[in-house]
């Protein structure tokens, strides 16, 4: 304490370097104390101001590309290349064109939107079913070689999906499933299930084994234990993983692009990237499509933020 006092007193009242700073007259001492207080308060304000400035920079960094997306979408077609920070004639016309499918890239837009939903929901369902069944066998039934299953899952989780894309494409041809939504659904379920097994095994540990045992004594078979006890108690983890799987499928591009190429089998992601095939595409339409495409995951994300935060922690979407 005395050190601090001496130092601030020195700085504040001009006693720097003098030995015996504690022998300062009473008046000077109180003024020094005032200075100390002021000094600390100023320092705190300065720090807070610095933090706020940093926060502003961070907000601009996060929002700039999203703002850019909106500005291009709000441009009318002739203005797209002006690159204005605020469009001269903002209009929602490009959204109208997308919603009414009034452009030839977008002629099947709602159908493709439906495809995206179908793939997302199917991947979610497959991932939850397969993942929860596997984690039940590994975690609750303690099957003999369960560790092999877990290892297999971990390995799948840490292999980049894009490295498997070429052989996967050939294999889907062998299975005769190209341009079939189920090719994408099966491929993406394969990549989402390991995460599900991982999270379910973690979460399952918090469910007491005694529940299984007592159900067992009451004569339940393993499937009843799985369905009546395990699944209901796993609800929060199911929501987290379900959201994860849905988003993974909705956001995926590469596999959709490789496996689905006819307008009727395409998902929105592929349709959106089609705009890049030409150098003179209507970019405002592309951005309007992009915004509509980005909406469901953003709404879902913010709606389920709590659960997602839990799911986020140990895995997240594969890049």
């Amino acid at each position: 304490m005395s050190v601090t006092y001496g130092r601030t007193a020195g700085a504040g009242a001009g006693f720097a370097g003098q030995p015996g700073a504690d022998k300062v007259p009473a008046v000077a001492r109180s003024s020094a104390r005032l200075h100390t207080k002021l000094h600390y308060r100023l320092q705190r304000y300065a720090l807070e101001a610095l933090a706020i400035a940093f926060g502003l920079v961070l907000a601009i960094w996060s929002l700039l590309p999203i703002y850019n997306m909106w500005m291009i979408a709000l441009d009318s077609h002739d203005d797209v290349f002006s690159g204005a920070i605020w469009p001269d004639h903002p209009s929602l016309d490009s959204f109208r064109v997308v919603v009414t499918q009034d452009f030839w890239y977008l002629s099947r837009f709602w159908h493709q939107f439906g495809n995206s939903f179908y793939v997302g929901l199917a991947v979610m369902f497959m991932t939850l079913t397969i993942g929860s069944l596997a984690s039940f066998t590994i975690g609750r039934m303690r099957i003999k070689h369960g560790w092999m299953l877990s290892n297999a899952a971990l390995m799948t989780y840490v292999i980049p999906a894009s490295f498997l894309a070429i052989p996967m494409y050939r294999i889907m041809q062998i299975y005769g499933m190209t341009n079939n939504l189920w090719s994408v659904i099966l491929a993406l379920s394969t990549f989402a299930t390991p995460y599900a097994i991982f999270i379910f095994s973690q979460y399952g540990k918090s469910i007491p084994m005694e529940l299984d045992e007592s159900a067992r004594i009451d004569g339940a078979n393993p499937f009843q234990i799985y369905y009546r006890i395990y699944l209901p108690l796993m609800a929060p983890a199911l929501v987290a993983v379900g959201t994860y799987a849905l988003l993974l499928a909705w956001n995926e591009y590469l596999y959709n692009f490789l496996l689905l190429s006819t307008p009727d089998s395409m998902t929105v992601a592929v349709a959106l990237a089609q705009f890049l095939n030409s150098d003179e595409s209507p970019w405002n339409l592309m951005m309007a499509t992009a915004i509509i495409y980005a909406m469901p995951p953003i709404i879902l994300y913010y709606g389920f933020r709590r659960y997602m935060a839990a799911g986020l922690t140990m895995g997240g979407v594969k890049g």
Binding site: S82, L133, F163, Y301, Y302
Partner: protein, 306 residues
């Protein structure tokens, strides 16, 4: 399953969980139960064999001709891609995790506006990759991109044509990747920080530790393992990141910013040499396999019951 619990679970690893095996009532199962257990495992085994093992074996077979590799090594674009990948992963991952670590320290402050900022900060992560990277591509356009307009508007300077140079193109890809994934890693590290008991900091403060020493003796030792796992995971994700390069710089100018993940696809579908594409991916295996091995060990430890 709170955020914190999971982060702690990663941290702890060995100690409790590995030995805290609870005996399941099915242990040593037989008869009807064994059939049930097998039946439950079948769906996963089937998709694993059909969509992981088969493609891997098929890929190994496709890329097994030695002549492919001489063709690959004779291609200068391949070496550019290898160097780009090294820079992309080496710089990108460390920069991203470093920033995420600092930001997690920022976001742990309990101010209302910090919490509000976190909601905004998450937005890049919630946005799908494709629209986000497309937007960044247009943002960086030299002629009519918004960034150069902003630079002109605010500072009165003419920005460069970003995506026309190798270095700026590569930096743009790395920047876009960081923009997209930084919130994710920040939240993980934030969860890790929040799981550190406050008492430890108080005890350190009583012992006279201030800022840097608190970091060195409390934060660092407790976060090191989590940070390491995050680095490895981020490395694997960055290695496989196809979208950032494909949609931000498009591999251009003149294929000078391609990375391994995009060049393989380019070989297979633009040049129609799928075997060469597979061979190209295979050359990443010497790096990928040890990474996968270490990650599996690390993650398995945190899973505890294997």
């Amino acid at each position: 399953m709170s955020v914190t619990q999971q982060a702690v679970a990663i941290d702890r690893g060995f100690s409790e969980q590995r030995f805290a095996r609870r005996r399941g009532m099915f242990s040593g199962i037989h008869g009807a139960d064994y059939v049930w257990a097998l039946a439950f495992a079948v769906p996963y085994v089937v998709i694993f064999l059909a969509f992981v093992i088969y493609p891997i074996c098929y890929g190994l077979w496709l890329g097994s001709e030695p002549q492919l590799y001489s063709q690959l090594f004779a291609d200068p674009r391949y070496f550019t891609a290898v160097i780009n990948t090294l820079i992309y992963v080496g710089v990108g991952v460390n920069l991203m995790l470093g920033l995420a670590f600092l930001l997690s320290g920022f976001f742990i402050r309990k101010r209302w506006w910090v919490k509000a900022l976190l909601v905004v900060f998450i937005l890049p992560w919630a946005t799908p990759a494709l629209p986000a990277y497309m937007s960044i591509h247009w943002l960086l356009d030299g002629q009519w991109g918004m960034l150069n307009n902003l630079l002109w508007f605010v500072f009165g300077i003419d920005g460069p044509v970003y995506l026309n140079s190798h270095w700026m193109g590569l930096s743009a890809n790395i920047g876009a990747d960081i923009w997209k994934n930084l919130p994710f890693w920040t939240i993980i590290l934030l969860a890790g920080r929040m799981s550190i008991p406050q008492e430890l900091y108080e005890a350190a403060a009583v012992d006279g530790a201030t800022g840097l020493r608190k970091f060195a003796h409390v934060t660092y030792p407790l976060m090191a393992n989590l940070y390491f796992v995050c680095i490895l995971l981020a490395t694997v994700f960055a290695l496989g990141n196809f979208n950032a390069t494909y949609f931000v710089s498009g591999g251009g100018p003149a294929m000078s910013t391609e990375v391994l993940a995009t060049l393989g696809i380019r070989y297979a579908y633009t040049v129609a040499l799928p075997r060469l594409g597979v061979a190209e991916v295979m050359t990443a295996l010497p790096v990928l396999i040890p990474l996968v091995y270490i990650l599996m060990r690390k993650l398995r430890v945190s899973e505890g019951q294997l």
